[in-house]
Every structure is written in C-alpha cells, then in structure tokens.
C-alpha cells in the first residue's frame, strides 16, 4: 500500500518524429554547431543596415502610393514583352513536351527512346531559368526572343516529366482493351492514353503558364526581355514608387492567372 504510490508515473508525450533519443540528440547538437558556425561567418555591416532602414521605409511608402503614370510607357512595353513571352513559350513548351513526354513514359516507349527522352528532361531541369537565360542572351542577343527560348526550354523539362509520370500512372486495363481491338500505337495513344491524361495536361499547362509569367518578370534582369528589366532600372534609380507600381502589377497578374487557371482546371477535371 505504501509502495503503490511510487509506481505511479506521470504520462509523458512520446516524440512524433525521431523515436530514437540518440538520433534526436545527435541531430540537435549537429544543427546547433552548424548554426553557430553559419551565423558567425555572416558579416553584417549593421551601420549600413541602419542607414538602409530609411530607404526601406521609403520603399514601403512607394509601395503604398505607387506611381503608375510617370514610367507607364516603359512599364507597358515590359509587360507586353512579359505576357507575349509567357504565352508563346508555354504553347511552344507544350508542343515540344508532348512527344518527349510520350517518349519518356516507360509503358509506351522502347528503352532507347525512353533513355534519350529522360536525359533531355534531366538536362532541362538541372539548370534554372536565370542560368539558361545568361547563356541564351550571350548567343541570341538581348531581348524577348532569348527569354522566349529560355522559358520554352525550362517548360519542356517540367511538362514532359510530369506528363510522363502521368502516362505511366494511367489505367493499364484501358490501354489493354484498346490494344486488344487491334489498334495501332497511334490509336492507343489517341483513344486510351489521351482521354486519361488530357485533363491533367491542360492543368499542367496552365500551371506552367503561371510559372512562366513569374519567371518572365525575372529573366529581364540578365537582359532577356520582359518587365524585369524595367523593374531593375527602377530600383537602380531609387524610383521606389515606380518599382512599387510594377510589383503591384506583377502580383495582380499572378493572382488573376492563378485564380483563372484553378477555375479552368476545376472545370476541365
């Protein structure tokens, strides 16, 4: 009766992740050491930061009272470049990535074709847009054409990879059924695969349209056309009210594209 009271234990919540305490402590200690090393290697000129706060405040003011008028011609030209680049590169990207996606699906393509298509995808996905843009601007000169090529190249990797994964995830019984009627390869693709992946392909294309617009506002910084160049100039000249206007336009367009694409995707599926 006296000993019973000591055997009562309070409930302690079990850890959700990393059940083994040794692992938990190793990871905790490791991250603590890393944090100390990392933070100590960051040199910060606090005086410069303090000086900059005033500029930051000016930028916030510029953002809150944007100036659309005084640079409107430049902004308009940049926006037209961005939007046209976005649409044409998405269309070109879809057109090229459909055959590559078909070739990269293991259930439709023979091994040699599969390997070639997969390496194209890896090549396109391993470098990001800015780096591709630097190279293409060096080759094709400044302007939206280099941007168009950049975004097309980046879209190919993204779209073909997801499309190929989707084709591989297709219901194989439907493919089997169409094949059993004596259909050729084209007919199998047309009647069994296309009907299954089409809604998703449309969804992916719209999603890529969204990404391409966002990227098109950036690659201008390295000279590939679009509203990024205008923004870069505005910030370099400390015209924060014009920069704020450009950012607000970018955010608004991204919102419109995102909402309308999610609406269309719901309607398609």
């Amino acid at each position: 009766m006296i000993g019973a009271i000591t055997s009562l234990r309070t409930w302690k919540r079990p850890p959700v992740l990393l059940k083994d305490p040794r692992w938990r402590w190793t990871i905790l200690l490791g991250s603590a050491i890393y944090l100390v090393l990392a933070i100590s290697s960051v040199e910060v000129n606090w005086f410069r930061v303090y000086e900059g706060l005033e500029r930051g405040w000016k930028f916030i003011q510029g953002f809150l009272s944007p100036d659309f008028n005084s640079r409107w011609r430049d902004i308009q030209a940049g926006l037209i470049e961005s939007l046209t680049m976005t649409l044409t590169s998405t269309v070109a990207g879809v057109l090229i990535s459909v055959p590559i996606g078909l070739g990269a699906a293991r259930n439709l393509a023979p091994l040699p074709v599969y390997t070639i298509c997969r390496s194209i995808i890896t090549l396109s996905r391993s470098f990001q847009e800015i780096i591709i843009a630097i190279l293409l601007v060096a080759m094709f000169g400044f302007g939206p054409f280099a941007g168009f090529l950049t975004l097309t190249f980046a879209s190919i990797g993204f779209l073909s990879k997801l499309l190929a994964e989707d084709i591989e995830g297709c219901d194989s019984s439907q493919i089997e059924a169409i094949r059993a009627t004596g259909a050729s390869w084209w007919q199998v693709v047309n009647y069994a695969v296309q009907s299954q992946v089409m809604p998703r392909l449309i969804g992916l294309s719209l999603y890529r349209l969204d990404i391409n617009f966002r990227e098109s506002s950036v690659i201008g910084i390295v000279g590939a056309g679009g509203v990024g160049a205008t923004l870069n100039t505005a910030i370099d000249r400390y015209e924060y009210d014009s920069a704020g206007a450009i950012l607000i336009i970018i955010i608004a367009i991204v919102l419109v594209v995102e909402y309308s694409s999610s609406y269309i995707r719901r309607w398609v599926q």
Partner: protein, 269 residues
C-alpha cells in the same frame, strides 16, 4: 431498303463538341500567332541567325574548364549554403504563425485576419527571390544578409501556403477529442493539430530548403553574396572557362541537395 442510311455511326464526340473544340483551338492559335508577332517585332534576326556561330564560340571558350578556380569557390559555396539554410529558417519561423492564421479551422477571425494572412502569402509567393534580393540589396546594402532575408521573405509564402493546406486537411475528430478533455486553445494546437501536421511540416521545410539552395546560387548576380557573385564577376570579365567551373559546382550542389531532400522526405512522410 434505305434502312442502312439511318443506322447511326459511333462517333468519338458529338458535332457540338467538335465545333466547340475547334473554336477553342482556333482562338488559342490566333492568340499565339498574335503574341508571337508582337514579341518578335523588335527581334534582330541577324543575331538569331548568328547564334550557332556564337554558341560554338562560347563553347570553345568554356571548354577546357579552369579547375584551379575551384579553390576560390569554397568560401562562396559555404556562403550559398548559409544563405539557403538561414533563409529557410527565417522563412519557416515566420510562416508558422501565418499558416495558423490563414487556415480556416484555426484562424481567429475569418473576415479580417484570414484575408490579411492570405495577402502576405500571395505577396511573398508572387515576387521571385531574385527580385526580393534586388530590393534588399538596394535597401540594406550588398552582402549575405540581403540574400538571407530575400530567401526568407520568399519562403514565407510557399511554406505558409502548403502548411495551411495541411492544417485544413487534418482529422477534426482528434481536435474534438482533445477539446473534450477541457484543453485550452494552445493545448488543442499543441496536442491535436501539431502532431498531425508535423511530418508535412518537415517535408515542406526540406522541400523549400532544396529550392532555396537552387535559388541562392544565383542571388549573387544582383549582389547578394554566394556563388552568384563569382558568376557575375566571371561573366563580366568574359572568363567563360571559370563560368564552366561555377556551373559545374552549382550543378553538383543542386544534385546533392535534391538527394538529401528526397532522403529526408522519404524518412519523414
């Protein structure tokens, strides 16, 4: 005798569907051609025709990579890793409260706080980290801090969006059960919601870290430190054989971080 003409042939789609489809495709093609013409109005085709020669020229300059340059890259590489990691940390720390304020089942007020949280998410998401870096370099001066803050600001939207979607998808019965024990608001979050979203949270954070490694390699282009700074100086001195080395280092970093992130996500989810 005329019975044959009345048998209805099977068709893939009804005539109305055909018409609608053709109209849709027609407008898409028309719009694309229009955009293409608008975009290429100022393109100098002589430069485009010249591109293969330029490409082979640059390729020739790039090709024997200057391996000795690698020794100057270790410090920028360490800086890049720090920008990505510390930036992710800042982003995640700010994203957690934003996500709880934005999720429909945990937000304190559906009409005031939730739209505000969603606005933060949209603003952060639609502005690319390179643009954030551009702004921050102008505001707080060039250096690692600008890069870290840029990555942090960009990560908030991404992490908060995925996290609030995870919070909205939790099993409500567990929340109900914990609440039935008389738990307070914070205890409900601590014991019913956090254990459910914790794996998703780690998955999202590591995923974002992986993306941030990619993005932080180029932030230096606008002066925010890391490998991009070396890239910028090599590009401006036309030292293409150094550019090759930097590209290879970036590629290796990206591949390693992708592998790490895939492993961690596999372990967590």
């Amino acid at each position: 005798m005329t019975a044959r003409t009345h048998t209805k042939l099977w068709q893939f789609r009804t005539p109305k569907q055909y018409m609608l489809r053709w109209a849709g495709w027609f407008w898409l093609v028309a719009l694309t051609v229009f955009c293409w013409n608008l975009m290429t109005a100022d393109t100098i085709w002589a430069f485009v025709a010249d591109a293969p020669r330029q490409a082979s020229d640059i390729g020739g300059r790039m090709l024997p990579p200057r391996w000795g340059y690698l020794n100057q890259l270790w410090q920028p590489l360490w800086d890049t890793l720090n920008i990505a990691t510390l930036g992710t940390l800042i982003g995640v720390i700010i994203a957690i409260p934003v996500a709880f304020l934005a999720a429909e089942n945990t937000t304190p007020s559906r009409h005031f706080v939730r739209p505000l949280a969603l606005l933060i998410i949209v603003t952060s998401r639609s502005i690319n980290s390179l643009i954030w870096a551009l702004l921050l370099v102008a505001i707080i001066g060039p250096g690692l801090l600008a890069g870290i803050v840029a990555i942090g600001l960009r990560s908030i939207g991404f992490v908060a969006k995925l996290l609030y979607e995870a919070i909205e998808e939790i099993d409500e019965s567990q929340v109900e059960a914990v609440r039935a024990t008389g738990a307070s608001g914070t205890q409900v979050i601590d014991y019913a919601i956090i254990p459910q979203v914790l794996p998703a949270f780690w998955g999202i954070s590591v995923f974002r870290w992986d993306i941030n490694i990619r993005e932080s390699t180029i932030l230096g282009l606008v002066g925010a430190g890391g490998l991009g700074l070396q890239l910028q100086s090599s590009l401006s001195t036309l030292a293409w054989n150094q550019v090759t080395v930097i590209f290879l280092v970036i590629l290796a970093t990206v591949v390693v971080s992708e592998w790490v992130s895939a492993k961690v996500r596999q372990a967590v989810l």
